[in-house]
């Protein structure tokens, strides 16, 4: 960051220009949040008042309380968190070894393996959703099938994220100098020890970046969750919010916006907190 006392005119000018250039985009980026906040705090009659106003006459915090109960928001939040975190964990667990193999260990099938992963990247879940459902419905568990279980959603998310995760991890792993591990070998460590003690700590930013991308992707995902999850006790937040709007006889937009706002807040917070790692992980590429 800019050390104090060196705020030159150049930097001030650059600041002004930068914010100016970014401003249209920032307006568009922030507009949804402004709309969400404005409508979420309006009492219901003002939501459909004509002409519409930005500011509510009073701050109807009650909307959030009502919404939480109507939508059973807590359950949705728990489901979304469980699914996204578990899917991310599974993806990382499976992709880190694979990324290590691709970037460190030469093996004959590596080209074919990369091609295979690229192919899976192109097979988006929505194209396969019919097949995914039939597959889940054909596996019987207990007195039902894998349909309407959260675990099938987790496994599906992980599988579709592997291609990107392995690709990204392999790319970053290749930039971690092998010399560091070799130095450990010279000192008598075996391969596993060098990986754990030297490689893994250095790879954490890359893993963090991959983790964030996977988490956000799983949190965002809609169609697979829509197809698989039915019982209200298992719905994720996007499903619960869309249910408030789709095919309803009346739509209470203030509650919808309140729900969207609360559903977005955890991810926005995670983002802001980990944004540093995101950039760090990317600039790692510049390290020689």
């Amino acid at each position: 960051m800019i050390p104090r006392g060196t705020i030159t005119r150049r930097i001030v000018r650059r600041t002004a220009i930068s914010w100016l250039v970014l401003s249209p985009l920032l307006v568009l980026a922030l507009l949804p949040f402004a709309v969400m906040l404005s409508t979420a705090l309006k009492p219901l009659p003002e939501v459909t008042a004509f002409p519409p106003r930005w500011l509510p006459s009073r701050l109807a915090w009650q909307n959030f309380v009502d919404m939480w109960a109507t939508v059973d928001f807590g359950t949705g939040l728990a489901n979304s968190l469980f699914i996204s975190l578990t899917a991310t964990l599974l993806t990382i667990l499976v992709s880190v070894p694979a990324g290590y193999a691709v970037s460190r260990l030469p093996f004959r099938g590596v080209g074919a393996y990369r091609q295979f992963l690229l192919v899976t990247k192109m097979l988006s879940p929505i194209l396969l959703v019919l097949g995914l459902f039939r597959m889940a419905a054909s596996i019987h568990i207990g007195d039902g099938t894998l349909v309407d279980t959260r675990i099938i959603v987790v496994v599906i998310y992980a599988a579709f994220n592997i291609a990107f995760a392995v690709w990204m991890l392999a790319a970053y792993f290749a930039t971690i100098p092998i010399e560091l591990e070799e130095a450990a070998w010279i000192d008598g460590a075996n391969r596993l020890q060098s990986v754990v003690r030297i490689f893994l700590p250095l790879s954490l930013p890359a893993i963090a970046v991959t983790g964030i991308v996977t988490f956000v992707g799983s949190w965002n995902e809609f169609v697979v969750a829509l197809t698989m999850l039915r019982d209200p006790s298992r719905l994720t937040l996007p499903l619960k919010v869309v249910n408030l709007v789709a095919g309803r006889y009346t739509v209470e937009w203030n509650q919808v916006m309140a729900a969207t706002l609360l559903a977005t807040l955890p991810v926005a917070v995670v983002f802001a907190a980990l944004q540093r790692y995101l950039v760090q992980g990317l600039t790692l590429g510049a390290v020689k």
Binding site: P45, F50, T70, I139, G144, L146, I151
Partner: protein
């Protein structure tokens, strides 16, 4: 919560092992109290609690039978039922739009109910409501929800336009709308987005004596009556007698406009009465039948509740159905949702006898059209909706658009 977390993990291991072997084993259900699974559609915030209450009351009277309720949104209901059937995991009982019934019957998925119904049971129903769910002489569904459509009009606007008792014919509608437009509001509310775009058109179609499907089972809406009806709507749009941007308005949006007092006339459902009472109690409005073209007619809809033929607990399921169609459960359901009664018993309840507004709807029933029970109704509905939208978008003329839609519909009907 932690127990919930544990089970999925054990299931995951089992599932992945089975995945690897690609083996499928049929589920074996150990003997226990019978469980009847019921899928219901979401009508309002009271739907879920109502069915849960019924399930609890029924269970108290029948301790050996457990009833599990599952609430699904309307626009994913059919999809869910289809995919559940294809996966063999469908519930025992489900609510279903009656217009979708035929496909379930043709594929042998719906259980014929005549064998379960006593003569007393049959007599509970108001005559014409049982008919739509009778196919090939057998009854496959029971009318759980019923509504008819009528015109709601804004008293203040229409009185100023010279129609204090509301419009009676489409000519009245045009005249009134012109006056309302001159006063700065929208005259006739027309919806052309989302579900029931085709139905809004059918109101006019039937009022000119036309029909959606003819007695020969082929599309009949491209008849002169059909073209006349669509031309009427188009001219309303072109003359600015409707709200602007009709293809942007769903049924819900139209209701909102009316509650705001920004449109003079819309055609809508009985539950508007409840909605207006709650959200716009000061709105002065009236209800009249759908305007007449050459005949008087309206659209009545039933939703059926059916039993699946692959249910393993049919007797128990029937008991629950029987219970649902006794007086108290019916009255509670119909009044809380704002539907029309389907059983005679409900008609005796003061809620209906004293409700002048609902009476308008009830009186319309003798001349009401039901959606035809044909196969693949969604294809026909989509063909007509597309045609109607293309006309409003100025992409096609009514006659040509309807002809094309009829060709598309016949393809689907022929299957």
């Amino acid at each position: 919560m932690s127990r919930d977390l544990m089970r999925p993990w054990r299931r995951a291991v089992l599932a992945l092992a089975l995945c690897g072997l690609a083996a499928t084993t049929p589920a074996t259900t150990p003997a226990r109290a019978e469980t009847v699974r019921v899928t219901v559609s979401y009508y309002s915030a009271t739907t879920g609690p109502y069915f849960e209450k019924m399930a609890a009351e029924f269970h108290a009277a029948n301790p050996g039978i457990d009833v599990k309720i599952e609430v699904v949104n309307w626009d994913s209901l059919l999809q869910k039922l289809r995919t559940d059937v294809s996966g063999g995991v469908n519930s025992d009982i489900s609510i279903l739009g009656t217009r979708s019934l035929l496909d379930f019957v043709r594929d042998g998925l719906a259980e014929p109910l005549d064998g379960y119904m006593s003569p007393e049971f049959k007599n509970r129903f108001i005559g014409q409501f049982l008919k739509p769910s009778q196919i090939d002489g057998k009854t496959y569904g029971l009318p759980i929800a019923a509504s008819a459509r009528a015109m709601f009009y804004n008293k203040a606007m229409l009185t100023k336009a010279g129609f204090p008792d509301g419009p009676k014919t489409w000519d009245d509608v045009v005249a009134a709308a012109q006056k309302i437009k001159a006063a700065g509001s929208a005259g006739f509310g027309l919806m052309a987005k989302g579900t029931e775009v085709d139905v809004y058109y059918y109101y006019a179609l039937w009022s000119y004596g036309g029909d959606v499907v003819g007695p020969d089972g082929k599309a009949a809406f491209d008849s002169p009556a059909g073209v006349k009806a669509l031309t009427l709507y188009k001219s309303l749009v072109d003359q600015g007698l409707t709200q602007d941007g009709v293809t942007n308005y769903t049924r819900t949006d139209l209701q909102e406009l009316f509650k705001q007092g920004r449109v003079g006339m819309i055609i809508s459902l009985p539950f508007m009465i409840n909605q207006i009472a709650k959200q716009a109690p000061n709105l002065e409005y009236g209800i009249v039948p759908v305007p007449t073209g050459t005949v008087q007619s309206t659209y009545a809809v039933t939703d059926s509740i059916i039993m699946f033929s692959n249910s393993k607990v049919k007797q128990a399921a029937w008991k629950f159905l029987d219970f649902l169609f006794t007086k108290q459960p019916r009255i509670e359901f119909t009044t809380s949702e704002g539907f029309l009664p389907t059983t005679q018993a409900e008609l005796t309840d003061p809620y209906f006898t004293q409700n002048t507004r609902l009476k308008v709807f009830v009186d319309l029933l003798p001349t009401a059209h039901f959606a035809p029970t044909v196969t693949g109704w969604e294809d026909t509905a989509k063909a007509v909706s597309d045609a109607v939208q293309s006309v409003y978008l100025d992409k096609a003329e009514p006659a040509a658009a309807l002809k094309q839609a009829a060709d598309r519909a016949n393809l689907a009907l022929g299957k």
